[in-house]
Structure formats: structure tokens, C-alpha cells
């Protein structure tokens, strides 16, 4: 084993000394917090989809009422030049 690797191994052993005990509630607490996060993500996604649907409907209603593609009747007569 060469120098740097030996040094790294030494530090690795120092880090491996005392292990903490995992408290019993840590997993369930994380799951609960994660479930809350998941609900929030879903609610935000639903809100975006809802907003999109409302926008599409509003656009369709506006288009059928105003018919922006129809050519407005012209109120100037074409010039008569002959």
C-alpha cells in the first residue's frame, strides 16, 4: 500500500470510531414528513392543471364570443377612379 492510501486509511479508521444509535422514531418521522411533502407536491400540480384548464376554457369562450378571425366589415368604400 502506498503513502497517500495509507494516510487515507488512517483517517478512515478515525471516522469509523463511534457510531451513533438511530432513534426509533426517525424513520416514521421521515415517512410522515415525506408524505406531507408528497401531498403538497400533488396539490401544487393539481392547482397548475386546474389553472391550465380554466385558461383553455376561458380562451375558447372568448374566441367563440368575439370571433377574432372574422374580417370586420370595412367602413370605407374603395376609391372610385376611372
Amino acid at each position: 500500500m502506498n503513502g497517500p492510501e495509507r494516510k487515507e486509511d488512517e483517517v478512515r479508521r478515525m471516522m469509523d470510531a463511534a457510531h451513533p444509535v438511530v432513534p426509533a422514531g426517525l424513520g416514521p418521522r421521515a415517512a410522515e414528513q415525506g408524505a406531507r411533502l408528497l401531498r403538497r407536491h400533488r396539490a401544487v400540480r393539481r392547482a397548475w392543471i386546474g389553472l391550465l384548464v380554466v385558461l383553455v376554457i376561458a380562451c375558447a369562450v372568448w374566441a367563440t364570443v368575439t370571433e377574432p378571425w372574422a374580417v370586420p366589415p370595412s367602413d370605407t368604400t374603395p376609391p372610385l377612379d376611372w
Binding site: 488512517e10 483517517v11 478512515r12 426517525l26 424513520g27 418521522r29 421521515a30 415517512a31 411533502l37 408528497l38
Partner: protein, 150 residues
């Protein structure tokens, strides 16, 4: 769907939490017997893994949690400057993060660099500096630190 996720997550936590909590405790430099910051860090990272459980698509949940843990720690590193009595408490938060990822977790240099957002040669330099700090600290406990330039 929910029940399956809960079961799978429980099994994952049972297998991985001991190692992850040790890594978190090394990061926060708290003593193993009193590590509330490490517990909070890990709970947050695990919660995120839970929330993404159905979208992991074959990705290892352990890797994902470890990465989340590292990112959370890096984001809030300013909180962890105080000396708290852990093994790595003579190192800066960044040195601890690199040492834990590289040596304790065995993450590749390139991947560590990507997680932290530094070039790989900087990661190597910081890692070897942290290694020599730790070794000199062991040889002269209690004495002021002799920082060795890398």
C-alpha cells in the same frame, strides 16, 4: 400504492439509516451521543427520498438520500462552523463534506465534484489537505493546529 411505498421505505430506512446517520453526524461534527442536527438533516433528506419514492425508476434510494444529505449540508454549511466535539470538528464544513463523501462513503472524485460544484482537482487538493490536518491533529491533540498546505 401508498402501503407498498410505506413498506419499502421502512425496509430501506431499517437497512440504511445507521450508516447515513453516522455520515450525517460526521458532517455536523457532533458527538455521536448527542446529534440533534444530524438527525434533523437526515430526517429531511429521508423525507425527500420518500416523496420521490415512486419516481426513483431504478435509482438507488441510498445514493439519492446521500446526495440529498450532502446538498442540504452544503446549503446550510454556515450553521456548522461551531466546534461541537465530533471527530471532524477541526475541519471546515466543506472539508468535512469532501472527506465524508470520498473516504467514508467512497464516492468517486468526479461525482463528489459534481455534488459540491467544484472542479475535481480542487476536490483532490481539499481532500488531501483535510487528511493531513486530521493526521497532524491526532499526533498533537490539544495543541494549536498546524495547517499543512497541499
Amino acid at each position: 400504492m401508498d402501503r407498498r411505498r410505506v413498506h419499502e421505505f421502512e425496509a430501506f430506512v431499517a437497512g440504511a439509516s445507521s450508516r447515513l446517520l453516522h455520515a450525517a453526524t460526521l458532517l455536523t461534527a457532533e458527538p455521536p451521543a448527542a446529534n440533534p442536527l444530524a438527525q434533523r438533516l437526515l430526517t429531511g433528506a429521508l423525507a425527500r427520498t420518500y416523496a420521490h419514492w415512486d419516481r426513483l425508476r431504478g435509482e438507488d434510494p441510498y445514493n439519492r438520500t446521500r446526495q440529498e444529505l450532502a446538498l442540504r449540508f452544503a446549503r446550510s454549511a454556515w450553521r456548522y462552523h461551531r466546534v461541537r466535539g465530533g471527530v471532524l470538528d477541526r475541519l471546515s464544513p466543506q472539508e468535512r463534506l469532501i472527506l465524508v463523501l470520498r473516504l467514508y462513503e467512497g464516492v468517486e472524485e468526479e461525482q463528489t465534484a459534481a455534488i459540491i460544484g467544484l472542479p475535481a482537482d480542487r476536490v483532490r487538493a481539499i481532500c488531501s489537505r483535510a487528511v493531513s490536518t486530521m493526521r497532524s491533529a491526532r499526533r498533537a491533540p490539544g495543541r494549536p493546529l498546524l495547517r499543512t498546505a497541499s
